[in-house]
């Protein structure tokens, strides 16, 4: 079931929304207006959007330290996300979590995560709950190439496999874990190969091709909903910016970055929408203008929102 025109334009819009959001955050961060660390998703938009466009109400996603894109793709409000990144009370987590812990559990978004690889067992657990409750929902876990070396990756895949859990493990192979290139941190080319060890399907796709990601995810989710167990999907992609803002990127060359910028997933998708006559230049430009406006409003919203009161310090530690 290929997406219709409306759905495709929505995917394009979401990708642009992520891009504009992240570039705005980069800008604000360098101007000292955002505290803490921020890890941006620029260049990897096709993965989150390709996967999340397949999800429904009952489904969960678990994310990473690079989680803004996953939240936006899942339909989170950019206002509340921006407010959270500013540390304001109207943010998704009342400003207590910040960029690395944005969550919107009401949308099935189980949160960004400060611990690399922590999401995999969590997603397996959410999938277990869905299976237990027989509600037809699945769970998706996004994680990086670097995370695939954590014990949690191996333990979660094995568990999901033997319990046939409705979970999709989406590896965002952006070729680096901070400064460690994939070829230095593991002896394989395709992380999808690791699926064999756990007796589950593993597929490797072009992570900068949103339709390819969409299709692979659709297939895996169909399997999961049908009770056939987990799938490992590896999306090969690249982060255009540093690991975190302020990273001077001494470990990779400018040529490499420029090479990948040519494969920009948004430009690619835009071009194919035009080529396939799904959208006109004007339509795409209009979307772009709307997105810019939306992000401007989000920043405005975040700026206006107050900081949490100091009394918030010790609330939410326990349920009442």
């Amino acid at each position: 079931m290929a997406p219709n025109k409306e759905e495709m334009l929505d995917m394009y819009r979401k990708m642009l929304l992520i891009r504009e959001f992240e570039e705005t955050v980069a800008n604000l961060f360098s101007q000292g207006q955002i505290p803490g660390f921020v890890h941006l998703y620029v260049g990897e938009e096709a993965v989150a959007v390709g996967v999340c466009s397949n999800l429904g109400d009952k489904d969960y996603i678990a994310s990473t330290h690079r989680g803004h894109g996953h939240g936006i793709a899942r339909g989170a409000s950019v206002e509340k996300m921006m407010a959270e990144i500013f540390g304001k009370i109207d943010g998704y987590c009342k400003g207590k979590g910040g960029s690395m812990h944005i969550a919107a559990v009401e949308l099935g978004f189980l949160g960004a995560n400060g611990i690399v690889g922590a999401g995999l067992p969590l997603a397996a657990g959410a999938a277990f709950a869905n299976k237990y409750l027989k509600n037809g929902g699945v769970a998706v876990c996004f994680f990086g190439d670097g995370a695939s070396n954590r014990a949690t990756f191996h333990e979660a895949l094995n568990l999901a496999s033997i319990w046939k859990l409705p979970v999709i493990f989406v590896c965002e192979n952006n070729m680096y874990g901070i400064s460690m290139s994939q070829e230095r941190h593991q002896n394989i080319n395709d992380i999808a190969d690791r699926a064999v060890a756990y007796g589950i399907p593993g597929v490797s796709v072009d992570g900068n091709d949103v339709m390819a990601v969409y299709e692979a995810a659709a297939e895996a989710i169909k399997r999961a909903r049908a009770g056939e167990g987990p799938t490992l999907i590896e999306c090969k992609t690249y982060r255009f910016r540093g690991h975190f803002e302020g990273d001077a990127c001494v470990y990779r060359s400018e040529e490499e970055v420029n090479e990948w910028k040519k494969k920009c997933p948004i430009q690619r998708f835009g071009t194919s929408l035009l080529e396939m006559n799904i959208a006109s230049r004007e339509e795409l430009d209009a979307i772009s203008a709307e997105v810019k406006e939306q992000i401007k409003n989000a920043v405005e919203f975040a700026r206006k929102s107050p900081y949490p009161d100091v009394s918030e310090l010790t609330t939410d530690v326990y349920c009442d």
Partner: protein, 530 residues
């Protein structure tokens, strides 16, 4: 609108960085995301992208500058910006830069704090004892129950035990300062001018409304009703505290030496049938208010019964003489030599005063400090007295108390708030005056063409003006202030008030006017006229 480029924060711990080069010149066009400058952090050289699209209008910080993050480094012009707005942006950014670089100064200011207040112990009652104090008391074999605590919550701490031991040993610790140099010259001149101490007396009027409130609250704290703190008790406590800050005022002197005792022993003058005796409270600065109160009563009783021991009157360091209880307002007490200063306490009187823009009835007391000018300089004495005044006027923190709301303090002219109350008060007043001084009332009523008795025709303002005149005539400060306040509130001009006050002259009140002229003028000023 012109955009300001700030020094970027690169990396997790970056606090400052050095601009190693600008990749664009002033006047160049830059796109957002295009490299604009290079910054060297602790670790690496980073190319910083322009956060804005526009023309690089002004570089504020040239290559080579080392700067903290987030300070302005350049101004980028947007399309359509005019020269003036750009220059304004530049000077604003420069000012922000200067301020950020100057920094620091504010911090210092913030740190300056008022003198700390360490609350007094009021009831020593249920005492807590620190382990350290208990150990020392055990070792020295003293009964800790006899020692009052000065630690938090009245806990007996080591210092209390040590002081108590000192006291037991009768060991008067003191310092000896030679009277030489300038002090010797002053001493010689001063003693030449007068045989013994060179007496000077200074006076301060102290607003004791808060002290009165504190006294009420403290007395209410003791549910047994056994303890009633007197003003003398409170004065002893505060004076002892102030004396610890001004040891020279607590000194004793001989012809050529000044002794600075290590303790504050405050004498309280007790009037006897045929004379006066001044027993003193040893170590008053270390006692709880309750202990002081007990001690004052005990000494007074024993003084009256002629049962004082010699040590009760020896080694005093300062004396308080309260003639206020006999109605004296201010006086010039004589120093109890070899002490060098004495505090005279006057009676408490009420007066109207402006507090936070409201007219209030306040309580005032006059303190007179006589000091030996040979030993204590006038400025020091004045400083001491004003420190004492400062403490007495805001006694709350010393007892951890809050002011009580007291509506009784509010003054409403004419004895009431509603027009009917005011009218009745006037009538009562006039009626009373009719009995004592009928000619005055008749005179006034003649002057005002009988309007005083014509309720309907005269405005409230006129009535207030007449009341002003009347109160000047009878020299009642309280009434004068209250009625001037009320009259001005009703719209009276300063001229009208002065005219009303002048009316009193017609009726033999010339002396009254002289007496109150300044008060009338003060009131007019205080309440907003000139």
């Amino acid at each position: 609108m012109a955009n300001i480029v700030l020094m970027p924060k690169l990396g997790l711990t970056m606090k400052k960085g050095r601009i190693t080069g600008w990749l664009k010149n002033e006047g160049d066009r830059v796109e957002q995301g295009e490299p604009l400058l290079e910054v060297m952090t602790e670790k690496v050289n980073v190319r910083v992208e322009s956060p804005f699209t526009g023309v690089l209008y002004k570089i504020l910080c040239p290559a080579g500058s080392t700067l903290p993050v987030s300070v302005p480094v350049a101004v980028i012009a947007d399309e359509g910006d005019d020269e003036a707005s750009l220059e304004a942006a530049v000077s604003e950014a420069l000012a922000a830069l200067q301020e950020a670089l100057a920094g620091g100064g504010k911090e210092e200011e913030r740190k300056k704090e008022a003198r700390p207040v360490k609350p007094f112990v009021v009831f020593a009652g249920e005492r807590k004892v620190s382990p350290r104090a208990a150990r020392l008391a055990r070792k020295e074999g003293v009964d800790i129950g006899l020692i009052s605590g000065s630690g938090p919550g009245g806990r007996v701490v080591e210092e209390d035990v040590r002081n108590y031991l000192e006291q037991l040993k009768g060991g008067q610790s003191y310092q000896v300062l030679p009277i030489d140099g300038m002090r010797a010259v002053i001493a010689e001149r001063m003693s030449a001018s007068r045989k013994q101490a060179a007496h000077v007396t200074i006076m301060e009027e102290v607003d004791v409304t808060a002290l009165r409130d504190v006294r009420e609250q403290l007395n209410a704290q003791d549910s047994s009703g056994r303890i009633k703190f007197s003003y003398t008790d409170l004065l002893v406590k505060f004076t002892a505290e102030a004396l610890t800050e001004f040891p020279m005022v607590n000194s004793r002197s001989s012809e050529n030496e000044i002794f600075l005792p290590g303790s504050v022993n405050i004498g309280v003058a007790v009037a006897l049938e045929n004379g006066l005796v001044v027993p003193n409270i040893k170590n008053a600065h270390q006692l709880s208010l309750e202990q002081i109160s007990t001690k004052v009563k005990d000494l007074a009783t024993r003084a009256r019964n002629n049962e004082l021991d010699p040590e009760d009157v020896e080694n005093g360091t300062f004396t308080i003489s309260n003639l206020g209880m006999f109605g004296a307002e201010g006086f010039t007490p004589i120093i109890n030599r070899p002490e060098t200063a004495i505090l005279g306490v006057g009676t408490i009187r009420t007066k109207p005063a402006l507090v936070d823009g409201r007219l209030e009835k306040r309580y005032f007391m006059t303190l007179s400090l006589s000091f030996d000018h040979r030993i204590i300089d006038g400025s020091l004495a004045a400083e001491f007295l004003s420190r004492l005044k400062e403490m007495l006027e805001d006694p709350y923190p010393w007892f951890g108390l809050q002011p009580q709301k007291n509506e009784d303090l509010l003054i409403s002219a004419g004895g009431g708030k509603s027009p009917r109350q005011i009218r009745r008060a006037y009538k009562d007043g006039i009626n009373r005056l009719m009995e004592t001084a009928p000619d005055v009332v008749m005179g006034f009523s003649a002057l005002t063409e009988g309007i005083f008795f014509d309720d309907g025709a005269v405005s409230r303002l006129n009535k207030e003006l007449i009341a002003v005149a009347l109160s000047v005539y009878i020299k009642c400060e309280y009434c004068i202030t209250a009625h001037i306040y009320k009259a001005m509130e009703l719209g009276a001009t300063p001229e009208q008030i002065l005219e009303a006050a002048n009316v009193a002259v017609f009726f033999g009140g010339g002396a009254a006017l002289a007496y109150t002229a300044t008060l009338v003028q003060d009131c007019i000023e205080a309440f907003g006229g000139n």
